[in-house]
């Protein structure tokens, strides 16, 4: 087995997220055993991902839902179906 560290760096992303196929996991574990820099890289991922997971969650303010609905009704009025769609510039996929 001679996986180069460059290939491994990319696999670390998948490994960290649990998306790496089982047979590759074994190779990677072996490599990590004798390659401190790769282990360091993995620790870096662990650390960053863990800290990101612990960031305070974003919560929508309680009254925003209802106030948004009211704003939309005011802004867009009666039956939105009847409106002319704006120029589709958002990847709508409706150009055809």
């Amino acid at each position: 087995m001679d996986m180069c560290c460059k290939d491994l760096a990319e696999k670390l992303l998948l490994f960290r997220d649990g998306d790496l196929p089982e047979e590759e996991v074994q190779h990677l574990r072996e490599h990590l055993h004798y390659c401190p820099p790769c282990l360091d890289l993995l620790n870096g991922y662990d650390e960053v991902v863990e800290v990101l997971c612990r960031l305070k969650p974003v919560k929508m303010p309680a009254n925003l839902c209802e106030s948004m609905k009211e704003r939309l009704k005011t802004e867009c009025g009666g039956t939105p179906d009847a409106r002319q769609p704006e120029a589709a510039s958002d990847g709508n996929g409706s150009e055809a």
Partner: protein
């Protein structure tokens, strides 16, 4: 292909907000520096969705389309705001090249378990995300904070899967560098980060 039910949901302010509002808001808030900006982003995105829903012909799950509209609205407002300059691309850790393991810090690896997540760490991480160049910031927000899978996030940023991974890798390495700086400063100042319970 989108079903009539999906389109009906998108066309009705009630169901649109009930079903998709939370996710739109979360992305808007992550992308914005203030609550007020996040609300503006959300409102603009919802209006655009309502106005274009009748002609939506995309996937049966419209979330990708909704995210894309929300991202565009957030970028629009972001551009108008004065913002600290992003770190230079040259200063971001390199991508998967050479033998470079970008940061050779092993002695103080893996600190999070030593600390309850403190307000201070929270702020530092947000600042570090905010100083990333836009495309890198968006990669972290979409995948690491909002849990959008790699391929979908890559599509949203108009990147190949490989390009997206490289970007995420560099962004995470930048965040790691900032974290290490933070842990070091904590160590030097006596070893405790201010925790706020939990």
């Amino acid at each position: 292909m989108a079903t009539n039910t999906t389109i009906d949901e998108l066309l009705n302010p009630e169901t649109l907000v009930d079903r998709y509002g939370e996710r739109i808001y979360r992305l808007a808030r992550r992308m914005s520096n203030s609550e007020a900006d996040a609300e503006d982003v959300m409102q603009n995105a919802l209006i655009k969705i309502l106005r274009n829903a009748a002609s939506y012909r995309g996937e049966s799950d419209p979330m990708g389309w909704i995210y894309r509209i929300t991202l565009n609205e957030a970028r629009e407002i972001h551009r108008k705001r004065k913002r600290r300059p992003a770190v230079s691309l040259d200063n971001l850790p390199v991508d998967f090249d050479e033998t470079s393991h970008p940061i050779g810090v092993t002695d103080i690896a893996h600190r999070p378990e030593r600390f309850a997540m403190s307000t201070e760490i929270d702020d530092r991480v947000r600042m570090a995300i905010d100083e990333l160049p836009d495309g890198y910031r968006e990669a972290v927000i979409l995948h690491d904070l909002e849990g959008v899978p790699y391929q979908e996030a890559a599509n949203l940023l108009d990147l190949t899967l490989g390009g997206f991974k490289t970007r995420l890798h560099r962004a995470r390495m930048h965040l790691r560098r900032r974290l290490e700086e933070f842990w070091k400063s904590v160590d030097e100042s006596g070893g405790t980060a201010a925790t706020d319970g939990a």
